[in-house]
């Protein structure tokens, strides 16, 4: 049997997640419960789309730091729109949110792909720009649950289905679907393979006749659209949207992507890895909150340490498994 290195990575990551869950189940009463499952999945669902979008951008050897502001702007504008048009169909609302995000992403994309400005500079700029726009636009008004239609306020509690007594919420299904769709595209769509090619060796991509500019542009548009989806989920979940909405999401997304085994140097990564990475980071975060043994002040430090440990274990395991698989092969 010969396993692909990426398969090994996923396997190692899954083992790290399993180890984390097993460890905390010995530490926290009632940890392995349907309720805990719901807590972690609903919390991870808000981050997952941005993490998936970030992964696509990172695969092309770029980075999108503007998504925190993109999530905030989309959540606010969508909430504002619903205040004046409460009768819009839910699907239309979600599509509008993703469209807004895609527009924000397109601006980044144009500047990076054809403006030849490094993505870290461009998106750091738009991060501040969109936050400023939100400050100006909002005029210090808060979007509150009172102004939102009932279906949206109820969305976070809505169950998609119950499996063996475990509730799977609609928001979780939405987030996972977005990741699965992207995963399928990246693996199966011929054009999508170019994201990997451009990130793996940009010079070679040009020589191979790939229009690297278009590829990078599309990566940012996708990242924006997925940030839009996150913005929609954010609005549904928290209801209360101020100008600080979505702040810090870019760092969470980067953490999830890196833990999920996407190479920060571009060219490799898988959506399954990003999903597991997002869940792993969120599991650690949510479990620490419920762990008696650590005080609040040590949680952040411990979270950072555990993320590093997870990455180290993952790298180590991949290496071991590769060796093992070679021998077998």
């Amino acid at each position: 049997m010969r396993l692909h290195p990426m398969t090994l990575r996923i396997l190692a990551l899954a083992l790290a997640l399993l180890a984390t869950v097993l460890f905390f189940s010995t530490q926290i009463d009632g940890y392995l419960s349907p309720r805990m499952f719901t807590r972690i999945t609903t919390s991870a669902a808000v981050i997952l789309p941005v993490a998936v979008g970030q992964a696509i951008v990172v695969i092309t050897r770029n980075i999108d730091l503007s998504i925190g502001s993109a999530v905030g702007v989309v959540a606010y504008l969508t909430g504002d729109l619903l205040g004046s048009h409460p009768d819009l169909h839910p699907l239309v609302v979600a599509l509008i949110a993703m469209g807004l995000g895609a527009g924000i992403g397109a601006i980044n994309g144009v500047l990076v792909a054809w403006g030849r400005v490094p993505s870290i500079i461009v998106t750091l700029g738009t991060l501040a720009l969109w936050r400023t726009f939100l400050v100006q636009y909002s005029d210090a008004r808060t979007i509150t649950t009172a102004s939102l239609p009932q279906w949206l306020v109820d969305l976070p509690q809505a169950n998609a289905f119950t499996l063996l007594g475990v509730d799977v919420r609609v928001t979780v299904v939405l987030a996972v679907l977005s990741a699965a769709a992207m995963g399928l595209c990246l693996g199966r769509l011929r054009a999508a393979r170019r994201f990997f090619a451009v990130g793996s060796n940009p010079d070679a991509a040009v020589m191979a006749g790939i229009n690297a500019g278009v590829v990078v542009f599309l990566a940012f548009v996708l990242s924006g659209a997925l940030a839009g989806l996150s913005g929609f989920l954010f609005l549904a979940k928290f209801g209360n949207i101020t100008v600080v909405a979505g702040m810090g999401f870019e760092l969470k997304a980067v953490a999830a992507v890196v833990v999920g085994g996407v190479s920060i140097l571009g060219g490799s990564g898988s959506m399954l890895g990003v999903v597991i990475g997002t869940v792993l980071v969120d599991t650690i975060d949510n479990s620490l909150t419920r762990w008696e043994l650590v005080s609040e002040f040590w949680r952040d430090a411990l979270l950072g340490f555990l993320i590093m440990a997870a990455v180290t274990v993952d790298t180590f395991m991949s290496r071991q498994l590769t060796r093992f698989a070679r021998k077998e092969g």
Binding site: S69, A128, A140, T145, N240, V243
Partner: protein, 345 residues
């Protein structure tokens, strides 16, 4: 409708009345160039303060300029320092600062004072008091402890477990309030059946506060109240309880904005919370600043002055910060379903 008496507020007003005869009045029509500098732009409380400050400036017939400027949320601390520096080089007469940069801003504030620009803090002071003329305190920090303890008493029916969901572990305001609350709980026997389980921090982020609130519920099965002395935390916690259909079991309280809290107060998830008026805080800050800048008051401890519709105030030593001075505003308004709808408009 309940009113909660505030011991220290009472003391302050007594002092005020004692000094009534000497209260200095402002001379209207002066030219004072003022800058109101909030932590960052875009949220309601600071805009309310702006409204109050403008009201005062108009009332005083200030012929100088008035500006409301601030950084974006992402750039709060660095932006404040930059803007204070700019205001100094522009020779503004007074900068009214809700400090979010800790003591980092002290050196810049001292430079401003040296260049003739007064720095009056409000809402959040400079921790060391360096470079600050005077702090206009919204309420006495000690009294917030009493209000929080009384609201927990009310919601638990006198006995039970509760937990605190704060902002960040290093937020000076919240930490002082939590300490004050602990003191109150220990001091008075009527609180003996209340048990504080935990203090957690949501870092003023919706998402983190939401998750932390649910974490508290999971960790302490007998929890009856989540006390959140932060406007972001309280609304996130209320939404979390509503989403998880826990509002019958766990009540949310703390410091919140009526406009954001109205639906949760009406549906019983957060039946009772408190806040002071940011409009009044802005008004009093502008009055204090105008009188300092025109020389009507010097900013010395013991000086008493008249602040328009709000009455008389006295500059006193800040009990929380050695060597610093404050003007105490007070009192609170406690919001319930009887008054929250009116306040939300």
């Amino acid at each position: 409708m309940k009113k909660i008496g505030i011991a220290l507020g009472l003391v302050a007003s007594l002092m005020g009345s004692a000094a009534l005869a000497e209260a200095v009045k402002a001379t209207p029509g002066g030219a004072v160039n003022m800058v109101l500098l909030p932590k960052f732009l875009g949220i309601l409380p600071f805009d309310q303060a702006d409204r109050g400050a403008q009201e005062a400036a108009k009332e005083l017939g200030n012929t100088g300029t008035y500006q409301y400027i601030g950084p974006t949320p992402e750039n709060s601390a660095a932006g404040q320092i930059e803007m204070l520096t700019t205001a100094t080089t522009q020779k503004q007469n007074v900068v009214m600062l809700s400090n979010n940069a800790g003591d980092q801003i002290a050196a810049v504030a001292e430079a401003a004072q040296a260049a003739g620009t007064k720095v009056v803090t409000w809402d959040s002071p400079i921790p060391s008091g360096k470079g600050e003329s005077v702090f206009v305190a919204q309420v006495d920090f000690g009294s917030i402890g009493t209000v929080m303890a009384d609201m927990v008493m009310d919601l638990t029916g006198g006995s039970g477990e509760f937990a605190i969901l704060s902002a960040s572990p290093d937020a000076a305001n919240q930490n002082a309030w939590i300490e004050a609350m602990k003191k109150v709980l220990a001091a008075d026997a009527k609180y003996k059946d209340l048990k504080l389980d935990d203090v957690v921090y949501g870092n003023d982020q919706s998402e983190e506060s939401y998750n932390k609130a649910l974490g508290l519920v999971d960790k302490y099965p007998n929890l009856k109240v989540i006390m959140a002395p932060t406007t972001v935390g309280i609304v996130a916690a209320a939404k979390a309880m509503q989403d998880e259909k826990l509002c019958d079991k766990v009540k949310v309280s703390g410091l919140g904005l009526p406009a954001e809290m109205v639906s949760y107060t009406m549906n019983g998830c957060a039946p009772e919370f408190a806040l002071w008026s940011f409009v009044d805080l802005g008004y009093l800050t502008a009055y204090t600043s105008y009188m300092l800048a025109t020389g009507a008051i010097k900013g010395e401890v013991g000086e008493t002055f008249h602040a328009g519709r709000m009455g008389d105030f006295t500059i006193e030593a800040d009990p929380g910060r050695a060597g610093a001075k404050r003007v105490l505003m007070g009192p609170f308004t406690v919001y319930t379903k009887d008054n929250v709808e009116a306040a939300a408009k």
